[in-house]
Symmetry: C2
Subunit: 359 residues, 2 copies
DNA sequence: TTGAAAGCGGTACCAA
DNA sequence: TTGGTACCGCTTTCAA
């Protein structure tokens, strides 16, 4: 039966000491020009009275405009559109501060991202939310922007050796591990499993594969892993390579598609008559997957919660920019496992990207 | 390459029309004393300029203190402690408004909740967050508090025929459905499955059971469901009834424990030497479950995200109290399925309830 | 029916 | 080293 402490204002403490609010303000903000003993007295009574700044007043007065640029690829829109929607949603919900967000697009991961970031050097902004497709290539420009005073926040995938301020993503290693565990649950006998990924230079994809391989080795030693297939996020290549895989010598009984770009892979499976025959775990959720999950042709999909990633990324970046202490945000969301029976909880949001739902 | 619309203030629109801010304010708040045509003109330019009230200024001027009471049981602390922590976390994060939160506890669901709510009639507050254990019994007091001007928000379980303003909970039906699907994946042959629940008068528990039964019938007709066991959230009764169940004539091969109170049930399983022999799906997460999931003795647990429930409940209630339009918040979170391989993502938070993590 | 002006609780600048 | 004060955007009262 306790309650949050009563809060005193700045003039309460000024009145209590018979001094001016200016002085109190100086003390509370560690500004120069206050004698040590008044400073001590102010701090003491501030503590005693339970001073809590009125954030509304503070925000009103400061009225700072934070400018944030969002630099994300157009492809894969299944993933990046809801991510952008999450950013918009969080931006609209900001209270007590002006935030200006601009969105910038380039074709796909690795194609034009460096250049677009480069161009951001001209129009200085407070922070940039972006996805490093190929971290090695981008480290230099990230560091230059950082040196320029721009807070760089990675979303969806990391660039750990750069000077980015932090990361918001799904926990990629765990996604891979889950995929392995799910396949292990369904494949009781000795079999081969395969993975199809986007681009192994992208850390997120590499992490998934690591989690997958490690967990497979631990939980399902009877399943052996075929070499990973890299689709480079190109539909045609994904299709071609999948066909090759399925017609290869050792045929997989289980398949983990670790990129959201799964349509061409599923098409290949369909054409080879293998949909429903082999166990498939996919990544993320979009319209084409729904009937396949409903009919059990896909065992499960690992939803990376792009909307939430965007929302959290935005909130983290703003918090970082406002904080004094500047803790580095490192947030890995738990992926949602979507089966047939919880699918309806996630489908409503496929059309309506402005939804603010909390899953 | 678009940007979020610039927001105009009240004086921007006053200036644009050459009128005073007082008039604009009257229009925007639907107050009397404005001619119809000025009203129309104001609304039009407000729309055109993209008027967005400065919430900081609004809060500062109004300087209202929202008082919220939280009325929740002490038991089951695994669940309600993190839920309270979520509320605290959200309360601390409020910007630009004074919110006072008081916490009130009663022993367990159905024991003293009515009385404690009753006592809230005396100290009027703006809103109450609470869990209706037995909705029928509480409907009357909920309605009286509502009539009294208090916004009643259900958390964790609903009281649909009362005049509560809304609900924040995990999606109970889906929890049950998932439990059934998981058991169906693991039990390929004809078998019996059983459920152990808390109290079927609690809507949340009834919904879980409905989801479980319906999904079992649809996805796994080879599994037959034994009559539900009600533990009434009492450890001894749960233990006794589980023993009876396990020694009964038709022995279950799968078990769904739909209340967070699973320890006595697991103890009974252990003593009967059945842990690891029959498939078990539990609810929520706490220290005792961790080793059982790690060793595969529990197939999975359905995490109802109590921290997030608390956080979202608080935010929804505050939004409701601040909004003019008063949309009824009805939020069902997607439960997280916790397997062995994603368990580490959830364990870190078991000790540290003040954590603000986003899973 | 409308306009003018006083604050809400801080911040920051200028004067003392 | 201090005190005084204008101002942030909005609400509200009083006067016109």
């Amino acid at each position: 039966m306790n309650s949050t402490p009563r809060s005193a204002g700045i003039k309460d403490i000024a009145r209590a000491l018979g001094i001016s609010i200016g002085t109190v303000d100086r003390v509370l903000h560690n500004r120069t020009g206050v004698s040590l003993k008044t400073k001590a007295r102010v701090l003491e009574t501030a503590e005693k009275l339970g001073y809590k700044p009125n954030l509304a007043a503070q925000a009103l007065k400061l009225n700072r405009t934070i400018e944030i640029a969002v630099v994300l690829p157009k492809q894969i829109s299944h993933f990046f559109d809801p991510l952008r929607a999450g950013i918009r949603s969080a931006a609209e919900a900001t209270v007590g501060m002006r935030v200006k967000v601009t969105f910038h697009e380039y074709p796909r991961l690795g194609q034009g991202d460096g250049e677009l970031l480069e161009s951001r050097l001209k129009e200085k902004c407070d922070g940039i939310i972006f996805t490093p497709g190929n971290p090695r290539k981008l480290d230099s420009i990230i560091n230059r922007l950082t040196a320029h005073g721009t807070a760089m926040l990675c979303v969806a995938s990391d660039a750990p050796s750069s000077e980015r301020i932090g990361l918001v993503s799904a926990h990629a290693y765990t996604s891979g591990a889950l995929a392995a565990e799910l396949l292990a649950h369904k494949l009781a006998r000795k079999a081969h499993v395969a993975t199809i990924t986007g681009e192994l230079t992208t850390l997120d994809h590499a992490d998934k594969l690591r989690g997958f391989a490690a967990t497979l080795a631990m939980l399902a030693p009877h399943l052996s892993l075929l070499p990973a297939v890299e689709s480079h996020e190109r539909p045609k290549e994904a299709y071609r390579q999948t066909i090759a895989l399925l017609r290869g010598e050792t045929k997989p009984q289980g398949l983990y598609i670790s990129t959201a770009n799964s349509v061409p892979v599923l098409q290949a499976l369909e054409e080879e008559g293998l949909l429903g025959k082999i166990q498939v775990v996919t990544t993320d959720l979009f319209q084409e997957l729904v009937p396949l999950i409903e009919t059990g042709k896909i065992l499960a999909t690992l939803y990376q919660r792009p909307f939430t990633q965007g929302k959290v990324a935005f909130e983290s970046l703003v918090a970082y920019l406002l904080e004094e202490k500047k803790a580095s945000p490192m947030i890995r969301l738990a992926p949602h496992i979507i089966f047939r029976s919880n699918l309806p909880l996630f489908t409503d949001r496929l059309d309506d990207l402005t939804d603010t739902s909390q899953s």
